[in-house]
Symmetry: C2
Subunit: 331 residues, 2 copies
């Protein structure tokens, strides 16, 4: 009994994709990982049905391979975009999914006949990096995920910091230029308004529209609306001076945000995830330089600023970790 492999399902529901996998109870690589398009417009109930089917599929394969049984699966951890209420397991609002007051945790638990836990997707990703990834061993860990939006998480002494109403970690909506670019959230000068994927692309397009010559327009055959952050990255790879400049400016904006977090929280690690981190040194070198310029030296010296180690599966691992932590008290 005691040497029997036990498991937790990790389910990461994002605006674009759902990822599910079976995580060993003691931690480790998720097995039997399934990835499916979210298609949130079909409604929450349908997404739960398809996610549960993928989880069943995943469990069947992995348990068969290990000669395990369904009773070896302790439960399921779910990561989803907030704001949400962890106590009731309800998604209050999910702008990227379009659902409101949706009892996600209960529905998933019922569909699989397993106990479930729910947390914010960015918290799960940060927790996954803390448990098994680039944040291992950190006592004060800041996670930053650069995607369509900018998400964040904070793990203090091995506990996700949720704050008073489960909103903590909204680092993307930190003002870095109080009279600056308009953000989707309605405010001006949020970090996200400069350094999210769509805003990196928008800033690149603005320059080209103003007359800058760049390989970026060639990469999209002149259709500037088709430029994405990935296009900018492609331009960086090709050594295009303008794409490099856009990346460097992105790093400067990010640097101001990261410096704020360092001065406020004095973390020992900041893990940066998301597609734009593929730019590697083109992002991290100017980022760290800007942070050094802005933050207290002894705080910068105490902090490693590193790319995520689990870009594909941190959310799944972290969601499983959240379930384990809630159920067994620690991971």
């Amino acid at each position: 009994m005691s040497d029997k492999q036990r498991w937790i399902v990790g389910l990461d529901i994002g605006g674009t994709n759902v990822v599910v996998g079976l995580v060993p109870l003691e931690g480790g690589e998720p097995q039997g990982v399934r990835r499916l398009p979210t298609q949130s417009e079909a409604g929450g109930v349908e997404v739960v049905r398809r996610s549960a089917a993928a989880a069943e599929d995943c469990m069947e394969e992995v348990l068969a391979r290990h000669g395990g049984r369904r009773s070896d699966v302790a439960g399921i951890g779910i990561g989803a975009p907030g704001p949400l209420d962890r106590k009731t397991g309800i998604l209050l609002e999910a702008p990227n999914l379009g659902w409101r007051d949706f009892p996600l945790q209960q529905l998933v638990s019922d569909a699989l006949g397993l106990p479930a836990a729910l947390d914010n997707d960015a918290n799960c990703a940060t927790y996954g990096e803390w448990w098994m990834g680039a944040g291992r061993g950190s006592e004060v860990l800041v996670g930053l995920t650069l995607g369509t939006g900018i998400g964040g998480g904070l793990v203090l002494d091995g506990e996700i910091h949720h704050g008073a109403s489960d909103v903590a970690g909204e680092f993307g909506h930190m003002t870095i230029d109080s009279t600056g670019r308009k953000c989707k959230c309605g405010n001006y000068g949020c970090l996200e308004a400069y350094a999210s994927g769509p805003n990196i692309a928008a800033r690149a397009v603005e320059g080209i529209e103003a007359g800058v010559e760049s390989v970026l327009s060639d990469l999209v055959q002149g259709d500037l609306e088709a430029i994405t952050a990935a296009t900018v990255y492609e331009g960086v790879v090709q050594g295009d001076p303008y794409a490099l400049e856009v990346m460097k400016e992105t790093a400067k904006f990010l640097g101001a945000g990261v410096a704020n977090l360092i001065n406020a929280l004095n973390p020992d690690a900041i893990v940066v995830a998301g597609g734009v981190t593929r730019a590697g040194d083109h992002l991290f070198v100017p980022l760290v330089k800007e942070v050094r310029r802005r933050a207290f030296r002894s705080a910068v010296d105490a902090c490693r600023i590193v790319p995520a180690a689990l870009p594909e599966t941190a959310g799944v691992i972290g969601a499983a970790g959240v379930f384990k932590k809630e159920t067994f008290g620690s991971v």
Copy 2:
């Protein structure tokens, strides 16, 4: 023995004043409070000597009044401007005092023959408000002190959050305008560069120099260099439109900083201390309005933004609390 009153000395060493008092072990108003000019230019050893003399004086008076004995004093908690090393009790650097690598804790302990503990002054002030003031009952408390600089502290579940190298809580050096006003720390656009006392005054003077008519110039008989944040406050009291505008702008800058802290940490309370809070509603009404404009609604709704309840003695009470917490495990 058990109903005997026990005490802790609280010592708050600031750039301008030293305050010392005897705090009941179970918490409460400090007794026999002494306040003396720091005169840091005389050197750390001399300041310790005078502070210790004031503490002796204070103990003698209070113990005599309560029929107590020296052995009823458990120890001394010290608050001082950082950066400092709590483990060794050494002030590493104290720009406002001019001392470097100064073994403050040991010297104070030796001078009084009492065990001592040391923490950052802004942490102590926040901890004092959490223990006995406007932050009582808070689980996620942000403290903000607006003075010559802007200091901050963070108390999570009754513990001061120190971070990886005792630097956490430097909220004054949060960038709110990445290309904005130059700050004393060398960067651009720090909150402190807008909302510290000297910078409130500097912004007011800039307007008058640009030709704005205001009672502020009359209040200093035309000597604009004599304008301080207190002058601006005086102008607000007299209903001067320009002084009111400067205060309102101060509130907007502060609002951007407070909103950042709310989005990042989702606190249930933010306690604002410092002379400028005397402006009352002239500060807090536009401050809260700006915060509502910038931060997530459910996070703003979960947070009370209040003036400090212990403006004179939070540092002394908090320093005593730090000693108690370190010695007895809790306050």
